[in-house]
Assembly symmetry: D2
C-alpha cells in the first residue's frame, strides 16, 4: 500500500486527489495538510466528503514524514523547498503546481517572477504527461504535473505534430475551461450571479500556460513552436475544451488524418479518438481521466482543427498526478482511474 | 460473478445501472436490451460510455436468457409479464418501474390505470427500501425498487415516525427534483432554454408517488398516513431534495431529536445524519448512493422540518437497485457503491 | 420629472433600480451613493451598464440634497437616521431595507437586534405592498418596501384569506429564491462551483422574513396568523417561488377557488392568476414586476396549495419600490414598469 | 404608427420580435402568423407573454394584408415567395432567414441547396447590418437581416479591416453561442441534462454562416477574404461571443489599435468598444441590441485577437431587424431599443 501525503488538500486539486484516492486499491492517504485549515476536518471544508473521509488537516512536516509520495497542490513558488526535503528523504514528489514545469529558468522568471532555487533539482524533474513521457516518468522521483490547458492542447495536436502535418508557428489555441479552473478562492468573476449566463475570455494572449504549451510542442516537434493561446470561462463546473487551429503543410484526406490519430493513440487507455461525425464535448469526460479528441479539416483554408476535451480537475490535475504515481510505482497505469464518465 | 441483465438500458435509469455496474467487483453486465435502439451500441446513445462499454442492445429474451438477475427500467405496465418469465426461470427480478410497488390493486388501478395480471406474483414482491425492509429483501426474488421521491421522503421521516413524535395525517412533502427525473424523452419542459433559469412545480398534489409514499409511511407508523405531495423541477441535472413538514405531538428539544435520528441510522452506511448547523444539499450526494438528512424544529409552530437529499438516479433508482441486488445475493451491501460524492 | 436619489446603488437592489429607472419616462436619477465605491463609476462595478449610465457614486448627503425621492438599499439598521433627514426636508423616503417593515419594536428587536430610534417616524411608515395598501401609500412620505419572500407569499394567499377559506395557523411556506437574493457579497454559498448543481434550504424556520409575513397575513385576516417559513436557494439568478400549504376550512371546488382569485386580482396589472392547467414558474416573470399565481387543491387532504412567482429583484425589491413611487407621486402605477418578461 | 406583421411568430426570433416591439413607441404588431400554431394564442406557446400579448396566430395572408412591414422568421427557402408578394404590394419586407443574405446564387445553392427564384428581387435586397450599410438600408424595401455569428464577427473585425491592419486570408473565427441559437425545436443536443454541464463545437468548419461572413469581410476589405469558422454551444440561454484571430500586417501598439476602434465606432450607439483591461462578455449585453468589443494583441505571434459579444436573439436577430426598420422608416435608429442590459 502506497502511503500518500497531500499538501494543500483544501484547494480544488487537493480535494480532487482525496476523492480519486478514495477508490484507489493500492494507495491510501496517510496525511493531509492545509495552511488555512490546519486542525480542521477536511469534510468541514467539503461537506460532500462527510463520513467517508474523516481526516484532519495537519502541517506539511507531518505529511512529508508519514508518506511515500507527496502530492503538493500549492500556489507557485511554494513547492521548491518542500520538493527538496522530500527528495532528500528518498521519497517521491509530485508537484501539481507550476514550479518545475518550465525547463528554462528565464522563462519561469518572466512568467512567474521567481527563481530556480536549486538548479540540480530542476534537472531531475520530469514533465508528467504520461502519453508522451512515460519512460522518463518511470525513472524519476520528481514529477512536474502539467496544468489543465497544457494537457489538453498537446494531446489534441501530438499525432499531427508527430506525422509532420502542420506548421509549428502560430498555432491558434482557443481554449475554454469550467469554473473550477479558477479554484476555491472567492472572486467576483466566480460569484454565481456574475458567472451564470456569462461567457468570456480572460488573460487574452497572456496566460502562463502559453510557454508551457510551447515547450511541450517544441519537444514533440523538434522545432521552436509558437502558439496564440486564449482561455475562456464556461458556465459549468468542470472541463477543458481546446479548439486548436493549425496550418496543414500538405494535402491530407480526413480519412488519413483519422487513421493517423487512431494509430497514434491506439494503446492509450485514457485517450479516445472519436469517430468521424462526432465532436469532443466536456460533458462526456466529466469526473474521469479521459481525453476525448475529434479531428476536422477545413478544406477551404487548409486548416487542421483539433478539438480535445478533458476534465480539468482529473486529467488536467489530480487524475494525471495519480496516473504518474501509478507509473512511477510500477502499478498498472489505470489503477484507481477506471471511471465511467456519467451520461448526465 | 453475478450475471446482470438490463431491460430498458437506454433510459436514464438503465444507463445509470450501466455506469454503476462498471465498477462492481462481483457483477458483470451479461446483456442489455432496448426496444428503441435494438441492434445499436449503447455508447451511440450515451457517448460518454465510448470505449468503456461496447455492448449492443439486444432484445428482452436475450437478456432474460443470459442473466442471473434482471433489472427492468420500463414504463409502467410493461414489467409484469417479464417479471413472471424471469421468476419462473428461478432468476431474480428487480423492477425499477412502478408495477410492483403498490400493494393494493385498486390503488394501482386508480393511479396507473392498470391491473395486477398475476396477483400471486404481487404478493411475492418486496419493496426494495433496504433501510426499512432489509430482511424481506434477503428472502425474495422479486424486488419493487422504489421511486426517487418515495425514497427521499420516508428516509427523512422514519426516525420521527418510529419514535412516535409526529402526527401522521397531512404531512406536507414539498419536493424538488433535478431534470434527469423527467427522463430521456424530449419535452418542451426539459428543453434547455425553457428549463434553464426556471423553477416550477408540476403535477401539484396529483403525482403517482403520493400513494407510494403514504403506503411506506403507513407501514412504518402502523397508522393510515396521509401526505400532501408537491414536486418541483430544479435547473440541475441530478438530485432530490425533500422538505417535509409534520406536526410534533409533543415537545422535544432539537438535541433529543438529533440523537433519535443519529441513533436510528447509526448502522446505515448510506445515510448521513448531518450535525446541527448543516443543511442537506443535493450538491453533496451527487453520483453516490448516499442520503443526507438534516432535521430542524420550528419552535414557534411546533413543526418538525426534515430535509433529505439523494441523487435521484442513484439512491433514487439504479444505486438502490444494486444495493438490493447485493443484499439479495448475500454480498456486502455497499459492494460497488462506495462512491465519494464530488466536492464540485 | 421626479428627481430620484439612490443610496446604496452598488448593491443588487440599488443596481436594479438604476436599470429600471433607465426606461422611466417621468423620473431621472439625480444622484447615487455607495460607501464602498464612493468616487467610482457605477459602470465600473456593473460593466453591463457601460456607456448607458455614466454616473459616479457620491455620498449620502449629495443624494439627499439633490433628490425629490430617496431610495435606500442598505443593510438593516442604517436607514432610520437617513429617513429622518429626508422626511424632515419634506422629501420622500423609500426604504428597501428592513428598518421600517415591522410595526412592533419588540419584534424588530428580536429579529434584527436593533431599536426604533424614532418611534413617531415608524408610525408614519406605510408598508409598500400596493396590491393591499394602495390608499395608505398615496398618503405617506415614508415607504417600507417589502422583502422578496414577504411579497410573494401574501400575494399568493390573500384572496383565500380575504374569502375566509383557510385556517390562519401554521401555514407552511416553502419558498425558493434565485441566487441574487443572497446579494453581491462573495460567500462560499454563492461561489459558482458550489451553487451550480446544488439546491438546499437555509435559515430553516429561522428567517427574518417570517415575522414580516405573519404581520401582513394577520392584517389581511384580522387574526393572529402563524407560518412555518423555509427558504431555499435555486441555482438560477432570479426569482422567488413560494409554495404555500394551508388547511381549507370548508369544501370548495377548484372552479370556485379560481374565480375567487381571478376576481380578487381583476384590476391588478401586475398580478396574473394563471388558468387551471398551468403552474407558476419563475422563468415567466423574470426582469418584470409581475406576480404569477396558480392555485390548486389537494382534495385528499383538504389542503390549499398556492404557488406564486415573482422576480426577487423587481416585484421583490426595485420594481415594487418604483411602483410605490409612482403611486405616491400620482403617476400611473405601471409607468416605467410595462415590461414583457423574456420567453427565454 | 407603423403596422408590423410577423410571419413565423412562434419561432424564437419571432417571439423575440414580439417582446421588443412591446415597448416600441412608433410601431404596433398588426398581425402574427404561425404554421404550427395557427388559431392559437401566442401566449399559449410562450406563457411569459400571458396577458401582455393576447394575439392569435393567423395565416401569412392575414399578416401581409394588414401590415406596413413584414418580418419573416422562417426556415430558409420559405421567404422568397412571400417577399415577392410583400414587395409587389409596396410594403417592406425584412427577412430574418437566410434567403436573401448571399449575393451569389451559386453560393446559396451550395450551402442551402436552393435557387434564387426571382433574381431581380435578390438584387434589390440590402444586407441589414446598419453599422456598415446604413445608407443602402434607407433606400430599400427588402432587408436581408444578418445571422447572429455573421453580425458578431464583422463588427469585431471591421475597424482593423478598414485600417488595413490585417491579412484577410484565413482569419480564425472561434465562435460560441447560447442555446437559443439552436431554436425552439426539441433535439437531444438541447435536452437539458445533455446540454447542462456540456460545451462542444458543432458543424466544425462547415457552418452556413461561413460564406456570409466571408461576403461581408470581402465587401469591407475589397479583398477576397477567407475564414475558418467553428461555432460552439455554451450552456447559457443567450449570447454570441466571437473570438477572432488575424495576422497583423505591420506593427501597431495596443494604444493605436484601441484608438482606431474607438474612432471607428464613435457614432454608433449600439457598439461599445471596451477600455483596455476589460473583456467582452455575453453576460453584459443580454436582452439588449448592444455589441461589446474588446481588442488585444499577441505581441509574441503578431496576432490580433478581437472579442465581440452580442445577444444572439437581439443584435443577432430581432433587435437588428427593428433597428433596420427604424432606419428604413426614418425613425431614430434606437427607437424602442434603448435597453439597459441587466447586471445579473
Amino acid at each position: 500500500m502506497i502511503k500518500v501525503g497531500i499538501i494543500g488538500a483544501t484547494g480544488y486539486a487537493g480535494a480532487e486527489l482525496v476523492r480519486l484516492l478514495f477508490n484507489h486499491p493500492e494507495a491510501e492517504i496517510a496525511a493531509i495538510s492545509s495552511v488555512s485549515f490546519e486542525g480542521d476536518l477536511l469534510n468541514s471544508v467539503y461537506p460532500s466528503y462527510t463520513k467517508l473521509n474523516t481526516q484532519i488537516c495537519e502541517n506539511q512536516e507531518d505529511v512529508v514524514e508519514r508518506s511515500d509520495v507527496v502530492f503538493a497542490a500549492l500556489p507557485h513558488g511554494l513547492s521548491q523547498e518542500i520538493a527538496e526535503k522530500v527528495i532528500n528523504k528518498g521519497k517521491v514528489f509530485v508537484d501539481l503546481g507550476a514550479d518545475f514545469r518550465l525547463q528554462e529558468e528565464e522563462t519561469y522568471e518572466k512568467w512567474y517572477d521567481g527563481k530556480f532555487t536549486n538548479k540540480e533539482l530542476h534537472k531531475k524533474a520530469v514533465y508528467g504527461l504520461p502519453e508522451f513521457f512515460r519512460d522518463e516518468i518511470k525513472n524519476t522521483k520528481l514529477i512536474a504535473n502539467p496544468g489543465c490547458y497544457t494537457t489538453a492542447v498537446p494531446l489534441g495536436l501530438a499525432p499531427a505534430v508527430d506525422a509532420g502535418l502542420i506548421e509549428m508557428q502560430n498555432i491558434i489555441c482557443d481554449c475554454k475551461s469550467g469554473v473550477t479552473g479558477a479554484g476555491r478562492s472567492l472572486t467576483m468573476t466566480t460569484h454565481y450571479p456574475v458567472m451564470n449566463e456569462g461567457f468570456h475570455p480572460y488573460k487574452v494572449a497572456n496566460h502562463r500556460h502559453s510557454p508551457e504549451i510551447e515547450q511541450t510542442l517544441s519537444i514533440l516537434s523538434g522545432e521552436n513552436a509558437t502558439v496564440t493561446f486564449v482561455p475562456h470561462l464556461i458556465p459549468a463546473n468542470r472541463g477543458i475544451l481546446a479548439t486548436c487551429y493549425s496550418r496543414l503543410k500538405k494535402d491530407i484526406s480526413i480519412e488519413e488524418l483519422q487513421e493517423i490519430y487512431e494509430n497514434y493513440y491506439k494503446d492509450e487507455y485514457f485517450v479516445r479518438v472519436l469517430a468521424q461525425g462526432n465532436v469532443a464535448n466536456i460533458h462526456n469526460v466529466r469526473y474521469s481521466n479521459l481525453c476525448d479528441i475529434s479531428v476536422h479539416i477545413d478544406e477551404h483554408t487548409k486548416t487542421l482543427v483539433t478539438v480535445s476535451a478533458i476534465d480539468n480537475m482529473v486529467k488536467g490535475a489530480a487524475g494525471q498526478a495519480i496516473q504518474n504515481m501509478n507509473i512511477l510505482f510500477g502499478l498498472d497505469e489505470k489503477t484507481g482511474l477506471e471511471i465511467m464518465p456519467p451520461a448526465f
